[in-house]
């Protein structure tokens, strides 16, 4: 009986955790739509574009 209750509890916890992971993923997807409105992100993107233009390519040795 106790084993069954523990198993059900673990299953519920796993479901909650999985739901959190999915919700986090969906939230991040939504946030990405507005990322370019962030001035700090705009600055980074401008810096990258400038470097890429000066180099003539966005590709570098990693």
């Amino acid at each position: 009986m106790e084993t069954k209750i523990n198993a059900e509890q673990s299953s519920l916890e796993a479901q909650e955790l999985a739901k959190k992971l999915i919700a986090s993923k969906k939230k991040a997807h939504e946030e990405a739509k507005y990322a370019m409105q962030n001035p700090q992100v705009q600055e980074v993107v401008q810096r990258l574009k400038k470097r890429n233009a000066e180099r003539g390519t966005p590709i570098i040795r990693l």
Binding site: A7, S10, S11, E13, A14, Q15, L17, A18, K20, L21, I22, S24, K25, K26, A28, H29, A32, K33, A35, M36, Q40, V41, V44, V45, R47, L48, K49, R51, N52, R55, T57, P58, I59, I60, R61, L62
Partner: protein
């Protein structure tokens, strides 16, 4: 990571940081990507030593000026791998990748991520385990956990992650 005989090529990227440890890069098709590592300590609430080192890996297109479908790009693998390597600066770091299945292309994205990972020269430094979780509406979603092979808590982390799938996929 660098190999003098066959240097790895990829896109220039920049770390912005912030709450979500954000990185950015721009492709030859002018598509701007954001890569984030969101704090996800709640995944390992039974492993306090690893909580502050657990992050969810997110990759999103944040600007696509041409508005066309995102084409195959052979520079993506090395770029994403370089960013992940840059972020894995602590031996306890744990990264979780959840594959979104909301647009029915989740499996393709998951395969692509697996391909990037398995074919990269640095793959041997990491341990990766995958799980499939079946949602109530029968749409599966996929998740991977990546740890450094020298992570002192690696086995416990992986065990708990695999246990999540076992518990979640029990008949409801």
């Amino acid at each position: 990571m660098q190999n003098e005989e066959h240097p790895l090529l990829g896109y220039d990227f920049e770390f912005l940081g912030g709450l979500d440890n954000s990185y950015y890069f721009i492709t030859k098709n002018e598509i701007v990507y954001e890569v984030k590592f969101k704090t996800s300590g709640y995944v390992f609430d039974k492993l306090p030593a690893i909580q502050s080192h657990t992050f969810e890996f997110i990759i999103e297109v944040i600007e696509n000026p041409k508005g066309t479908a995102v084409p195959f790009d052979n520079m993506m693998r090395n770029t994403v791998a370089a960013i992940i390597l840059d972020f894995f600066n602590h031996d306890k770091t744990v990264v979780i990748y959840v594959c979104d299945t909301s647009d029915a292309r989740g499996m393709a994205r998951f395969r692509k991520f697996n391909s990037w990972f398995s074919t990269h020269p640095a793959a041997a430094k990491f341990s990766k385990h995958d799980i499939g979780l079946m949602e109530v509406n029968e749409t599966p979603f996929f998740a991977s956990i990546i740890t450094r092979i020298d992570n002192p808590l690696g086995r416990q982390v992986v065990w708990q992650f695999l246990e999540l799938a076992t518990q979640y996929n029990q008949p409801k």
